[in-house]
Symmetry: C2
Subunit: 491 residues, 2 copies
């Protein structure tokens, strides 16, 4: 897969900022051009949201090679040398045409130029620009750093080579590019949204339901279906054993039923705006936009994880930055005798009804810490593919202090002992703010030949890294808790 | 909250069967009336899906008092004595009127009669029936046992008392009833779906996108938003700092843009049906309806869990059957010296890349087993509300065998020792199919005064239950692994 080395983000509002965040976190160097003097502040806020989301998606895992973020005074400077240019300017054709003229003048021949427009036609935007063959619509959804879909729509001058490269580039940053066969106003997603929106406006105007009721029907019902399967797949299931053709044949007549106010558009006046805005205020129950954004992103992260657990849809696209980092060679043992194997926050989904981290999540953290050490000794995911692996055969946890959701933690790891088949590890889990010891984890790991299904001697290269760790840590005292047994001592 | 003692399900297809499954699993006795001789087989299949979903939602937890399911030959027999009657017959007004006549004749005065119709008006269905004041539309979404929304729509004769009771009854079975202010064809959800559907038909007919592409735009994009927030909340966020009024004022003009084929409906002919059906077949990639239903339900369960972790929307509605069971008094120590504290399946989300249960999920299972024992000694959720609790202070796990996704497991628990503040437990985790020992878990728990933040003496009543267990298990040999330490023994 082609990797994007440099991207230019032209226009840095909610959408442009979301693009910059997705690109940077995927390891791409990004140059931003935006005339707004407040652009950096706004983009920093979006970047903070994106980083918080990624920290929840991959707790404690380093995000591999994060890209750099620079600001340029001119479009030309941002675009120079970029593989991908993403324009997210306001939705005015004259403005977009002027910007794409500048982009085209500075762009290299094999660039991909995507416009985030949600409605304008690519043939119109690209009409007069240089490098028009490389320009297309690439329409994302907010928040861009979490929602993977991007609609790819070529114009009259767009080359098929540019479309093919765009499909490749957007895929490389964890997105789902969908290519539309013909250009059409508003493309696919916004047409669907607009159809729902008009219908909803009538429902409010006619006093059938409030904004909150309409939203509740969506989020407690059809939205739960649409997070994983669209309407055609849903109707396929609705047809059941009788099949989709039978279902469609029966469905047809309802198109003629009086189920929508198709023939008219409600008058858009102050009264209707006020009605909707007031209902929206009621629905928000005093929560600020920033609070709602955090709720939205937390929900999206967990929905994406849920789909990942089923290897389905948007969840199947999620790239594990630790694995990416390992693949890209970031797997050498750090210097020094103190080995920090994990650092991250207590995720809110890790807590019990008291708001403290729940028992088994301690082991999840220790397990991630162990995985990091295994990568350093050459026993990570790539090694597992060779047919050998390290299995935990024994674990001893001592819980020493409570820790609440959101608090930062870190793990230091000591190698207690090892031989040619076994590793005896001892983790200390600390709260970062107070430096207090939260728990210790003692683990025995066995090197296993997975095909044979039994223990085996590890390779010499792996053992020599363990020898280095043992030598560096030789002067560390053996932890008090190591080798201890569980039991009630008599008073 | 009012509890439903008996419900009648009239018509047992996909929707009626889904109602029966939701009701039974919520502890309601259900009587089914359906003239289809194949009704029981179809309902059994739906019930199996629902039970599988609940087993994933609450792994290893008993589902409290499951209701009974009986089949009656007549509507009258099913309806007699029911608090709730749910009709899910085919969508023909004459048929529905005839059925509701029979329901009304057999119903008690304070019944709630809900129709699952997705389009017919309640005023028309209830026009001539007895007990018309108790009848309303209660329109659910498929699968009813997982999706919580139900649209409540009264007709001309429906009493406000019946609506209020319906809101209460549907809430009691974990649903989200939303009350529409006026009756209208197709209510809210199906109008939104219909609007999207018509738009999609044009996109396919005009060759803009295939069924799969349209569905991808939904499930990789807007559907991820709609699983948690509807369109009004989403647009509120779209408005950002400038506010929803400003956003709406700008949004207005787009209503006049040529973004939908509003004015017409595509001709519904064999050619269009064939085009869509063929694209649907392509999209399914050979997966059967049953396979897709399982995927859908697995995704829905994990999306609901994801939202529960954020205490949001549909996730916040999920009732923990174990807690319900505890509240309803099902918390006595079982007879015998063998204490089975957990049994359930290895969830697919619990496995690593090898398809085996991952390390920390063993501790999650042991933790659930410990919680069950705590309920039996009187230390469950209700006890925690008094300000005291049991904290795990130490855990020792030995991993002895692997176990794959979907395999049944069970835990037996032995009380090794206890004093007036501490409990020393030993769990054996077995694979059910082979009877093999998968792992052991040894745990020390401390009784804690949470306000004081330190250990405290447990109540006498609790200690006496532990004494009973110790006496019954006195002859059990102490497990070999109990009290063992971790370490590499020299050869």
């Amino acid at each position: 897969m082609t990797k994007i080395n440099k991207a230019a983000v032209v226009g840095g509002g909610v959408i442009g900022g979301g693009w910059a965040a997705r690109l940077v976190l995927a390891g791409v160097d990004v140059a931003v051009a935006d005339p707004d003097p407040d652009a950096k502040r706004k983009l920093d806020a979006i970047m903070a949201n994106a980083e918080r989301a990624m920290a929840r998606l991959w707790p404690g895992q380093t995000l591999g090679n994060i890209g750099s973020l620079t600001y340029e005074d001119s479009i030309g400077a941002a675009v120079a040398g970029a593989d991908l240019v993403q324009e997210s300017a306001p939705e005015r054709l004259d403005l977009k045409k002027r910007i794409h003229q500048e982009i085209g003048e500075a762009a290299s021949d094999d660039v991909v130029i995507g416009s985030s427009t949600s409605g304008l036609l690519p043939s119109e935007i690209q009409a007069d620009m240089p490098h028009a063959d490389r320009m297309m619509v690439a329409h994302p959804y907010n928040p861009v750093y979490l929602l993977p879909v991007v609609e790819i729509v070529g114009g009259a001058k767009t080359s098929s080579a540019a479309i093919a490269k765009a499909m490749d580039l957007y895929t490389s940053i964890g997105m789902k590019p969908v290519h539309l066969q013909k250009e059409i106003d508003a493309f696919v997603g916004d047409r669907l949204l607009e159809a729902m929106w008009r219908e909803s406006l009538w429902l409010i105007k006619d006093g059938i339901a409030t904004a909150e009721t309409i939203d509740d029907v969506v989020r407690y019902g059809l939205g739960l279906r649409y997070a994983q399967m669209g309407q055609f797949m849903t109707y396929r299931l609705g047809g059941g054993e009788a099949g989709v053709r039978h279902f469609l044949e029966q469905f047809g007549p309802s198109l003629q039923w009086p189920w929508t106010k198709l023939m008219d558009v409600p008058e858009w006046n102050d009264e209707l705006i006020d009605m909707i805005a007031t209902q929206s205020d009621d629905q928000a129950k005093g929560k600020s936009i920033a609070e709602l954004e955090e709720i939205r992103d937390n929900n999206l992260v967990d929905i994406l994880k849920a789909l990942k657990a089923n290897d389905w849809g948007a969840g199947a696209l999620i790239q594990n930055p630790a694995e990416e980092s390992v693949k890209s060679g970031n797997n050498n043992l750090p210097d020094g005798n103190v080995l920090e194997t994990w650092s991250g926050l207590v995720d809110q989904s890790w807590t019990d009804y008291n708001g403290h981290m729940t028992e088994f999540r301690y082991l999840e953290v220790f397990s991630m810490a162990t995985d990091r050490l295994l990568v350093w000794i050459g026993g990570g995911p790539a090694y597992v593919e060779t047919g050998a692996s390290w299995y935990t055969i024994e674990t001893h946890i001592k819980h020493l202090d409570e820790v609440a959701a959101g608090k930062p933690m870190r793990v230091e790891t000591q190698l207690v002992q090892h031989d040619d088949k076994r590793v005896h590890l001892f983790h200390h889990l600390y709260g970062v703010e107070k430096g207090n010891l939260l728990a210790t984890g003692e683990h025995m790991l066995m090197h296993v030949d997975m095909a044979a299904g039994r223990s085996s001697v590890m390779p010499d290269a792996m053992k020599s890294v363990l020898d280095v760790i043992a030598e560096r840590q030789a002067d560390m005292p053996k932890p008090d808790a190591a080798g201890a047994a569980i039991g009630i001592r008599q008073k």
